[in-house]
Every structure is written in structure tokens, then in C-alpha cells.
Symmetry: C2
Subunit: 337 residues, 2 copies
């Protein structure tokens, strides 16, 4: 799935910023790709980029309108359809992460057939993957893993990409979830792939690099210790064959998201990731801890980071609050030879 920027971010008429999380995330990480937003009357979200009509967006060179908002249930509201049809008629492609397939709406299917525009349903990849092979590919890879779901794995991978590029390194974020696919313009929602092809899909997402010093920053999913999603996580680990990984953690959480199981220790996640990951990369190592300290005061956060850094002998930071510099420096030192 290759989604072509620049984008027009469609926010519909959602009632709050949370419902526009996907669109706001794209604007955060790829402001240069987001020429404007399209909001319907009553929209309570604002990405703080220019409001553009479809004609204005087209005139400015937009290639794809991304549905960056979601209503309850993930279905496509009937009153959004005319905007999508108009964008297609103006010559744009459409990309969506909704459960509803764009092509299942007859008016959208007809408009796409008429204009030749592409319909990208990120939750329903049409890509045919091979089964994973597990053979070593050229280039370096870093994977973000976690003690749970929703602890900052995407954010950490993107923050590492940004910091590494600023440091002059050759680095690309590799998306495995829908928002990530919009941010990178490529990738696949790995949890929507047929089970037999998880690692094979990751081998496609993170292919052999031309430059042996190139880094892929692979977005992690789930947790090896999450009873709902562990299969996705292990397939992703084996497919990504990471040289390095960062453990993401939220220290105030006691049970895992959506289930009653307690959070694993950071130690358990490090050890298990190495024990399993060495199958496809015997040199796998942990290069840092990314701690989501949102619920801690600043002094408390700094004390916690110092404590876990000493306990595990690894750099620890909150990528949102304090950046990823300590992790980047350790990574550079660890792979300097």
C-alpha cells in the first residue's frame, strides 16, 4: 500500500479531538505533507492547518484525501460520502482506516471507477504477502516493544526516526498500524493480516536496505505478555529481526489494557524479547527504555527514570517529555563498530 502525499486531512464533523486522533497524528509527524484540513459544519476538532475546499486543495497539489477522523463504531457516516465523492471527482485518491471498506459504498465505488482514483483501506490490505523466511536482510533494524498495548511504541519509533535524521543518520520509520501507515505513506496494519503471514508481512514492510548503515525504525504492536495480541507481537519480532529494541512502559498501569492480567516487569520483557528474537537475529539487544510519565509530576518522573536506568543499566527517557537523546547516544555507541 503506497499512499501518495501531499494530503488533505478530512476531519468530518467529529465531536472532539480524540475522534480526530489519526488526522492530528499525521499533522504532528508529517506537517510538510498536510496542506490543509477539510471540516464539515459542527466539527469540534482542529489540526491548526489551513481549512481548504476540495478545489483549493486540488489547486495546491493534494494527491490524497485521508479520512483522519472516526465516528463511534468505525463505520462511515452517510453524510461524509459526498465529500469523498467530490475529492475523487477532483482527481484525488482516498485513504481510510475505518472498518467500512470505501469500495463497499456504491457512490464511492462509482466515483473511483469514473476517476481512476485509488481507494486505500488500511484495515483491509489487498497486498498478498509470502510467509516469512527469517533470513537476514541488509541494513539495521530497531523495534519498539512494550509491557502492554498503547504505551507509546509508535511515538517512540517516530521520535527515534526524527532524532536519527537530525543526527545525520539514514533512518526510516516503518509502519505496522493504520495511523503509522498514513504517516509513512506505506506499510500495513499488521493486526489485520491473515495469521499465517504476520512475519512475512513485516519482511515486506522492512525490506533489505541498499545502505548497510540504514536504520528501519519498526513500529511495535501489542506485547509478548498480552493474552489477546501476543501472536501479533511475536510474528512482528521474528519478521523485524531487530538488531536493537526499546522497551516502552507506562509505570502507573497495573493491569494490561482490556484484560485482567498484571503488567509484566520490564526485566521480563527484555529477557523474553532476547530469548525469542535471537531466532532471527542472534545479536539482538535492548538499547533503552521509553517511559510514558504523563501521569507523574516532573520531579517524580525524573526520579523514576533515574531509578529504572540504574536498575537495568540502560538509558531511560520519556520521548514526549524529555526526548530520546540518551537512547540515541547509547544506540550510536553500541553500533559504532
Amino acid at each position: 500500500m503506497n499512499i501518495h502525499p501531499p494530503y488533505l486531512i478530512f476531519l468530518g464533523d467529529v465531536p472532539d479531538a480524540l475522534a480526530a486522533k489519526t488526522g492530528l497524528g499525521i499533522v504532528d509527524w508529517r506537517p510538510e505533507w498536510c496542506l490543509g484540513q477539510l471540516r464539515l459544519p459542527g466539527c469540534q476538532a482542529d489540526a491548526e492547518i489551513p481549512d481548504l475546499t476540495i478545489a483549493e486543495a486540488k489547486a495546491q497539489g493534494v494527491r490524497t484525501m485521508v479520512i483522519g477522523a472516526v465516528n463511534a463504531g468505525g463505520v462511515l457516516p452517510a453524510h461524509w460520502v459526498s465529500s469523498i465523492v467530490a475529492a475523487l471527482q477532483a482527481g484525488m485518491d482516498i485513504a481510510s482506516g475505518l472498518h467500512t471498506r470505501l469500495g463497499d459504498i456504491p457512490e464511492i465505488a462509482a466515483a473511483a471507477a469514473g476517476s481512476g482514483g485509488a481507494l486505500h483501506d488500511v484495515r483491509h490490505t489487498k497486498e498478498r504477502f509470502a510467509t516469512g523466511k527469517g533470513t537476514k536482510r541488509a541494513g539495521r533494524r530497531l523495534l519498539t516493544v512494550g509491557t502492554d498495548c498503547s504505551v507509546g511504541k509508535k511515538y517512540t519509533a517516530l521520535a527515534m526516526e526524527k532524532a536519527m535524521r537530525e543526527a545525520g543518520m539514514n533512518a526510516d520509520f516503518r509502519a505496522t498500524g493504520q495511523t503509522g501507515v498514513f504517516i509513512s505513506g506505506r506499510g500495513a496494519a499488521i493486526d489485520a493480516v491473515v495469521a499465517d503471514f504476520i512475519s512475512g508481512a513485516v519482511e515486506w514492510i522492512s525490506p533489505a536496505a541498499d545502505d548497510p548503515d540504514h536504520w528501519d525504525l519498526v513500529e511495535g504492536q501489542g506485547s509478548l505478555f498480552h493474552p489477546s495480541f501476543s501472536g501479533v507481537t511475536l510474528g512482528l519480532l521474528h519478521g523485524a529481526q531487530p538488531d536493537a529494541f526499546i522497551v516502552c512502559h507506562e509505570p502507573t498501569r497495573t493491569t494490561m489494557r482490556g484484560v485482567q492480567h498484571r503488567l509484566p516487569d520490564i526485566r521480563d520483557v527484555i529477557d523474553m524479547t532476547i530469548a525469542l528474537g535471537r531466532l532471527t537475529n542472534p545479536a539482538i539487544r535492548c538499547v533503552g527504555l521509553a517511559i510514558n510519565t504523563e501521569k507523574l509530576g516532573e520531579a517524580e518522573a525524573r526520579a523514576y527514570l533515574k531509578e529504572v536506568s540504574e536498575r537495568y543499566g540502560l538509558p531511560a527517557s520519556d520521548p514526549v517529555r524529555f526526548g530520546v537523546e540518551p537512547i540515541l547516544r547509547f544506540l550510536q555507541a553500541s553500533f559504532a563498530f
Copy 2:
């Protein structure tokens, strides 16, 4: 997916027994369900059950015709369609494990619509699964795991079901692959499920039992150490929450099926299965080794079984050659309290 016996086993005109493996497997394990076979001119496979016409099968009470053969590529040959249409017109359901969806063939779709017969595409489950919850369910569960793919996991689970039933125990085989689904009349091809729902599908396949002493014998898939399929294996382990597991192994194999990776040690598989499996069942334990000794002479096979049994302190047998009695006795002793 509930497939209703009795069955008519359709073998088409396949060139050898290997191409009829699915049908022959069903006849082996469920002879009482298989009233007859339907073979086309030139068929080189024989399940050694009565050859029946569709009219004869219907008269004897057959409810489902199972496509028990496969041609190269897994597609449905055009000259098999008329037999399928005739079976539908006689009032039978059709079950298939081919890649081609039965309903994608217009003649078959029309016949099914006309007769009201069900079309079961085992590779394309229509069942909607929830994500796994990982909470403890009533009843006991045994999972077969392996050092590799295709080392006897289905056979071992079925052999355990048979031996346990003969010993008066309340036990049911639970299918996670297509041949297993035909043998049990229920289940799902777990490798064809969307990645997010692997463990959830297994929770559906092996639901809470009414009888706390009931055993589910869950068919394993893949290996935690296979770079292509490890995600399926871990989701299956967490979903099955087994009290007991049997490690299946083929001692002459050096690399894993389809890839260049060496086979893991039995010890590694035992330790990793416990380390990961304890997330959803802290009491998980290994109760035996099922060794496929097909490529060894009898004396050599017996010596190998004795050696691994002593090395790991576990009963070891070849279920095909020597039966599963030692494993059953150890299981009974281990869960007698």
C-alpha cells in the same frame, strides 16, 4: 463452523494417495462418519470404504459431501463442479479446504441458493471472533506443540483423544487446522484467522467445559521457533491456556520446514512453552514427548525413545508406532488430585 456428518468423501480423480490426504485422514479417524467415497474415472486414491453415487449416499443419510482431495495449486478443477452441484441438488451441504471459495463458482452458488445447502470453506471462516481474554475457563486442556511444523501434532492430539476415551475419560479433540475441522465437525483453521483474533478464535474453539474433569485435546500448529509461523503458535498457546502439553519431534530433521533455521532442542521448546504459557495458565506442565520415528529402524527407535525419556524425565513414545499409553498414564498420575 459446524459441519454435519455423516460424510460422503469426494476424492475426485487425483493421481495419488497424497493428494487425497485430507479425505484419507477423515476416514482414518472418523470411520463411523464416512459412509462412502465418490471417485471420478481415473482416481488413483482409495479410502477403502464403499463407492457410492450421490443418490446412494443421500439414501443412506449422508448430510455433507467433503472435498477430501486437492489438486496442484489448491484450486477447484472445473470438472469437479458438476459433482458438487449434484450433491447440493440432492440436499447435501458441501465442505472444502481448497483455496478457491465454493461460493465463488457461479454454478455452485446458484445450486446452494436453490437447495438451501451450506457451503463450508474451512480456509475462509465466516465466524466473527472476539479478541482473546485470557481468563481461566472450566475444564482441562492439553495442547500439542512441536519443534517444527508437520511433526505429528494433529495425530498426537487425536491419538490422545482415542486413548483417553478408551480409558473412560471425557475428552474431545479440538481442531485448529482444516483436516482437523473435518475430523471434529467443528473448529477453525487458525492460520487463516485475522492476526488480532488468533487467541480469541482458540478461546471459541476450546470453550469452557460443563464438566471440570473434561479434557480438550487441542491441535497445535507451527512452532514457537519457526520464523514463519511463531505468531500463530504463541496466540494458540495463550488462547488454549493448556494445563498440559506434549512436545512433538522428528529426530532426523536438521532444519525447520521451508526455512534454513536449525531445529530447536526439545529442552528449548519445553522451557519456552512454560515461560510463555504460564501467562494464561500458571500450572502449565509438559506431560510427554511424541516422537515421529518413521525414519528409524525399530531398535533404533526404541533406543532413541529410552534416551530422550531419561534425558527429560518424561514419557516418550511414537504415537503411530507404539501408541500413547505411557503419556496417558503419566497424564493421569499428574492430574489425579
